[in-house]
Structures are given as structure tokens and as C-alpha cells.
């Protein structure tokens, strides 16, 4: 990779690994995150998302491999990176017994933002994140959504070029989550590169690009739409009765990746190796063709297809 293209990358990880004793938390991860995009990390709890983010922020040293963030070698240049990155931890990590404004003032001082610049930046953030009314309230007494907005305001106070968000919305209701993502797109629009980890499909779908992680291994990465289009399976919806027995019956077939009930229908993932999955299902189950439908794959289907192997 030449220098010109690597400078376009916000994160460039090569063969990055990290082990804790016997456990390989991250195994041979190759990752290219373009600048000015929102990049998603999708994976179940314990898949290595936090470990990866901690390596990208210089908090953890890789066991092997290389990682460059904003063109800075880590962990060597970790201190330089700190001025240019923002990090929002999974757990609320501001001070519960300080008010909203005091928390922001504290963070501003840490980044050396003083005087009028501090006052105007804090006022701006308070209004952008809808916290002006709450500025004298203790951070500990706010709702999950408000606290999340405060944490985002604090993480972006020094206008970082890259923002790391570790499961930012796990304690937030759907409406606040929507608003939160709108804010992320605003930041992205202003030139910030964002890496966000999540285990929510709807959130992952919003990202420009996405990596699916499982057991520290990257199973797939691309734009969500492409991931769905190139999925190595077909999705068939079966409307029938006796779905529970049908499911058990289907799950025994090697061509079936998964079967999950959604209300009164069964959503079945069939491997791409079959030429006509509909007929195959019909032959196996004797359910009339009218009750079978090929439907558009969702991100969840992609996730299950990518990660299914090791689960069985």
C-alpha cells in the first residue's frame, strides 16, 4: 500500500492480534476504515469489539500486527493521537457528582481549551445536544439518553478527527437512539471519522461500512447493502401452521443455516449451494409453493449466515 492511499485511511490495521493468556480476543484482524465515514463493528458480547477499540486508541498493546490511526503508528504515537481522537466508553465515564456544565468544563481544561473559546464551545455543545436546560443538573441524576448525549458532547469537545464509540446506545431508548445517530451523521458531515461498535442490527445498518466480528475474527466487511446483496444464502418465509415442529424438522437438514419464527411465519436461511431453494423446501416439507416466499435479506440474516458456522 502506498503512502497516498494510506493517508486516506482513518484506521489501517494489518494482521492485528491480541491475546489474553489462552484467549485470542482479536485474531489477525485486517481493517481499513476510510476517513469521513461511519464504520460499524457488529458482533455479540465478548467478540472482541472493545479489545479492538482499545487497541485503536492505544490503551492496549497489540500482541502482534500493526495498526495506524490517522497515519500515527500505535502504540508508539499514542500520546499524539490523544489530542486528535475522542473516545466514548461503554460505561458512562464522566463524573456522576459533577453537573453537566462542570463535567464539560473539566474536559475542556484537560484539552487546554480556556477562556472565551471554552465558554462558547460549551454553550454550543449544550445547545447542539439539547442539554442547555440541564446544565446545572448532576450527571448522575440524568436519564440514560441525556447522559449519552453528555458523553458524546464531552468526547467531541476538542473537535477530534476520529471518534471511537463503544456500544454507545446500550442504555438508550429507541427514540433517543435515532436522535443520537442523527448527531453522528452531523459529526461525520463535519469531517469526523467514526468507529462505532454495536450489537443492534438497526444501528449497524446505518453505518457506511460494517465489519462483522465473531470470536475475535472478522467474518465479513462491506457496506450493509452490499453485505445483504452478496449474502451466501437465500431467505425464505414460510406461512404455515405447526411452525415449531417444522422448525425442528428443517434444522436437521444440512442445507438449512437457520430457521427463526417471526409471528406466524418462519424465516428460513437456505445455503446458496442449492439452485432453487423454494423447490427444495417444498420437497422437504410438502408445503404448497404459495405459502413460500423468497424475501429480501436483512442484516440479521447476513449476521447469522456469517457467524453460523462456529455456533453449531
Amino acid at each position: 500500500m502506498n503512502k497516498a492511499s494510506s493517508s486516506e485511511l482513518a484506521i489501517n490495521a494489518k494482521q492485528l492480534s491480541r491475546s489474553f493468556g489462552e484467549l485470542n480476543a482479536i485474531d489477525q484482524l485486517n481493517l481499513h476504515v476510510e476517513k469521513n465515514t461511519i464504520y460499524g463493528f457488529l458482533g455479540p458480547n465478548g467478540c472482541g469489539k472493545t479489545t479492538a477499540i482499545r487497541m485503536f486508541t492505544g490503551l492496549l498493546k497489540p500482541s502482534s500486527g500493526e495498526v495506524e490511526v490517522l497515519g500515527l503508528q500505535l502504540p508508539k504515537d499514542a500520546e499524539k493521537l490523544r489530542h486528535r481522537m475522542g473516545y466514548m466508553t461503554q460505561k458512562f465515564s464522566l463524573y456522576n457528582n459533577l453537573t453537566v456544565k462542570e463535567n464539560l468544563q473539566f474536559v475542556a481544561k484537560i484539552y487546554g481549551i480556556a477562556g472565551k473559546a471554552q465558554t462558547s464551545r460549551i454553550a454550543e455543545l449544550l445547545s447542539v445536544y439539547g442539554l442547555t436546560q440541564k446544565q446545572s443538573q448532576m450527571a448522575g441524576s440524568m436519564s440514560g439518553g441525556q447522559r449519552q448525549r453528555l458523553a458524546l458532547a464531552a468526547a467531541t469537545l476538542h473537535k477530534p478527527e476520529i471518534l471511537f464509540l463503544d456500544e454507545p446506545t446500550s442504555a438508550v431508548d429507541p427514540e433517543n437512539r435515532r436522535d443520537f445517530w442523527e448527531k453522528l451523521f452531523d459529526l461525520c458531515d463535519q469531517g469526523t471519522s467514526i468507529l462505532v461498535s454495536t450489537h443492534y442490527m438497526d444501528e449497524a445498518e446505518r453505518c457506511h461500512k460494517l465489519a462483522i466480528l465473531e470470536d475475535g475474527i472478522k467474518r465479513a466487511d462491506d457496506a450493509p447493502a452490499k453485505l445483504m446483496a452478496n449474502m451466501a444464502a437465500s431467505v425464505i418465509e414460510i406461512k404455515a401452521t405447526g411452525l415449531r415442529t417444522l422448525k425442528t424438522q428443517l434444522m436437521q437438514l444440512p442445507e438449512i443455516i437457520s430457521a427463526a419464527q417471526l409471528g406466524s411465519s418462519l424465516r428460513v436461511l437456505v445455503k446458496d449451494t442449492l439452485d432453487s431453494p423454494l423447490q427444495y423446501i417444498q420437497q422437504q416439507t410438502n408445503i404448497p409453493v404459495e405459502q413460500l416466499n423468497i424475501v429480501r435479506p436483512s442484516l440479521e440474516d447476513v449476521f447469522i449466515t456469517c457467524t453460523g458456522d462456529s455456533r453449531q
Binding site: G58, K91, Y95
Partner: protein
């Protein structure tokens, strides 16, 4: 450099705001020295008085009653029980109702008559027939302080018993008591208490303050910011230096006005060595904070340091009386060195050269602890 000071200041003010909101900690800062000073100042008294005792008087004479009055007049003991036989008196001793039994034999008068203080000339000292003790104490010896006080009655002058003037014998030694002529315990306890309270609060507050950041997840945010470990540590401990000085003022002020403890030395050496000791304790607190994973552990480690500091530093028991191994341990504790310095300055106004060994030791201790703490405090999660 300016950015660095700015960051230290950010931590410092944040710490002050949090401290102000933490009512419990804030009141402890004032209450610990206040209550401890009152407790130690009033309760701890090495001059034992009014020990409850019983009397078994086999002689039942006017002489024995006068003897008892003379003994009670010393105020060392208080006769609270009279028994007719030794058995019931021993029972009372076993039940811990009394601490000692005085047995007056029925031949008290004869013994008294032959006793040297009766004034019939000195009998041969070796002749037990002619001169014997007039009565016997049976003492609960488990508490050495109490048995010591009663042992002090062994050679009680009996001149008053015979209506003579008080004993004017020339003593073997003349004893002049410097620095604390009235023998008030508070004079020795109050300066020592400075060392104990500073050890307790300084180590506990710093170690807990840093461990708390880690426990509540704030550290994960802090280490992703440009702040340096040394800036974080300094910002965290500076508020506690002021708290330490505030506590010193409370203890010395109360000691001066309530317990009449004089401050013979200058205030500059006093606050100089106190600042040095505060630094040493804070540095030790920092080391603990890099070892402990949560506030409970940091508290346990603080007590681990505090107990030997109370017992071995010379605060409660004289350093010189301890066996050698205990003295070696005591030498390791900053409190021991501070105890010597502060008592020297407050009570004896010692000179700078006399302080040097302990000052060097405290300074070296502080530097070593700071080095260990910054070495162990890592700005990553490995």
C-alpha cells in the same frame, strides 16, 4: 508546561468540587482530628488512679483502719469491698470486680512496731524475724499498667501512720523533669497524634481517591485524554496537602487551648517537617492506589500501615523499650521519624542539625514512593 499546569489545575478544582459535595468525607476531615484529640487527650492517661481493690482485714484494729485511710489518700487505689476471708476476695478478683486484694495480717501491730518507719532504729535488714512487710497485696497482674501502679505502693512511707511529719529522707537520686514537668499525658500525646491522624487521613484519602476513579470507570476516560500520569497524581494530591495542613491546625490549636500543650519550637520548622511528612504519606497513598483494585482494598492496605504506625512509632509505647526487630520495622515507617521530629520541635525546640537524619529519611521515602507510583501507574490497560 503551561498546558501541564492547566491540566493539574483542572484535576485540582474538580477534586475540590467533588470533595465539597461529599459531605461524609468533608466532615470526616474535621471530625477525625477533633474526636481523636478529645479521646486521646482525655481518655488516655498513663497515670493510673482509683484502681478498685478489696481489703481482707484480719487484724480489725484502729491501726489497720488508719493504714487503709493512708493508702486511700494516695488516690492510687479505691477500696470498694471489704471481705472477711481471702476466698471470697479471690472470687471478686476472678470476677474482675476488683483489681487487687490487700491482706492485713492479724499481727499488724507487731509488724508495724518492728518496721523501720516506726522509728525504733533500723533492724538488721537481713533479719526477716525482726522486720517484715506489714501487709500483702495480691494483684491481677494481667494489666502491667495497673500492677505497676500498685507496685509503686511497695515502699509507701508510713510516717503519717505514726503522726510524724512526712518523710524527709534524702532520696538516692534527685529527678528533674524537663519539657513536661507536670507529667501531663496530653503533652506527649497531642504532638504524636499529629503523626497518627495524618498517617490515617493522608494515606486513606489519596489511595481511595485514585482507586475510586478506576472503580467508577472515570480512569478509562482520563487515560484517553492528553493528561500525563504525573499531572493526574499531582492534581489529585494537592487538595489533600491543604486538608492535611488544616488538620494540623485543628490538632495544634485545640492542643494549645484545651490541653495547654506548649509549642516551644518555631512554626516554620513545624510546618516544614509536617509538609514533608504529608508528602511522604501521600506518596505512600499513591503507591497503595496502584496496588489496590477497589476502595475496600485500599482501605485494608491503609489499616495495614496504620496499625504498626500507632503501635511501633513511639506514639503509644516508647521506641527504646521495643525489641530490636520491632525497632527495625518502626524505622521503616514514616510515622516513627515524624514522631521524633514533631515531638522534638513542639516540646524541646530542637535544632536543625538534630533533625537532619529523620528529614533525610522522610525525603528519601517520599522520592522512592513517588518513583514506584509513577512506574506502576500505566496509562494503558495492559
Amino acid at each position: 508546561m503551561i498546558a501541564s499546569i492547566y491540566r493539574i489545575q483542572a484535576i485540582f478544582f474538580k477534586e475540590l468540587i467533588q470533595l465539597r459535595r461529599d459531605r461524609m468525607t468533608f466532615s470526616m476531615i474535621v471530625m477525625i482530628p477533633l474526636v481523636q484529640l478529645m479521646l486521646f487527650g482525655y481518655a488516655i492517661n498513663t497515670n493510673v488512679r482509683h484502681v478498685p481493690v478489696a481489703v481482707v482485714d484480719y487484724s480489725q484494729t484502729a491501726m489497720s483502719r488508719v493504714l487503709l485511710q493512708t493508702i486511700e489518700a494516695t488516690q492510687v487505689v479505691e477500696i470498694i469491698q471489704q471481705h472477711t476471708d481471702l476466698k471470697s476476695a479471690q472470687n471478686a478478683l476472678e470476677q474482675a470486680e476488683i483489681r487487687a486484694i490487700l491482706i492485713i495480717p492479724n499481727d499488724l501491730s507487731q509488724r508495724l512496731a518492728r518496721h523501720p518507719s516506726a522509728g525504733f532504729g533500723l533492724p538488721a535488714a537481713s533479719d526477716e524475724e525482726t522486720s517484715r512487710p506489714i501487709a500483702q497485696w495480691i494483684v491481677d497482674g494481667s494489666d502491667t499498667m495497673i500492677s505497676g501502679a500498685i507496685k509503686g505502693l511497695k515502699n509507701m512511707p508510713l510516717s503519717e501512720l505514726f503522726g510524724k511529719a512526712a518523710n524527709r529522707n534524702v532520696p538516692t537520686f534527685e529527678v528533674a523533669l524537663f519539657y513536661n514537668p507536670e507529667q501531663r499525658t496530653a503533652v506527649n500525646v497531642v504532638p504524636g497524634l499529629l503523626g497518627i491522624i495524618l498517617t490515617m487521613t493522608m494515606i486513606m484519602f489519596t489511595s481511595a481517591a485514585i482507586v475510586r476513579e478506576r472503580e467508577q470507570g472515570n480512569m478509562e476516560m482520563l487515560i484517553t485524554t492528553p493528561i500525563r500520569p504525573i499531572e493526574l497524581m499531582l492534581g489529585k494530591i494537592i487538595p489533600y496537602i491543604f486538608i492535611g495542613l488544616l488538620q494540623v491546625c485543628i490538632i495544634l490549636g485545640l492542643g494549645y487551648f484545651v490541653f495547654n500543650v506548649p509549642i516551644n519550637g518555631g512554626l516554620i520548622p513545624l510546618f516544614g517537617i509536617t509538609l514533608l511528612f504529608i508528602s511522604a504519606s501521600l506518596a505512600l497513598g499513591l503507591v497503595i492506589s496502584t496496588v489496590a483494585n477497589n476502595q475496600l482494598q485500599s482501605m485494608q492496605l491503609t489499616i495495614f500501615i496504620l496499625l504498626p504506625s500507632i503501635l511501633l512509632s513511639g506514639f503509644m509505647f516508647p521506641y527504646e523499650g521495643m525489641p530490636m526487630p520491632a525497632q527495625y520495622i518502626a524505622e521503616l515507617l514514616p510515622a516513627t521519624h515524624y514522631m521524633r521530629l514533631i515531638r522534638g520541635v513542639i516540646l524541646r525546640d530542637i535544632g536543625f542539625t538534630d533533625m537532619m537524619p529523620d528529614i533525610y529519611w522522610l525525603g528519601a521515602f517520599t522520592l522512592i514512593c513517588l518513583a514506584i507510583a509513577s512506574f506502576r501507574f500505566k496509562k494503558n490497560l495492559d
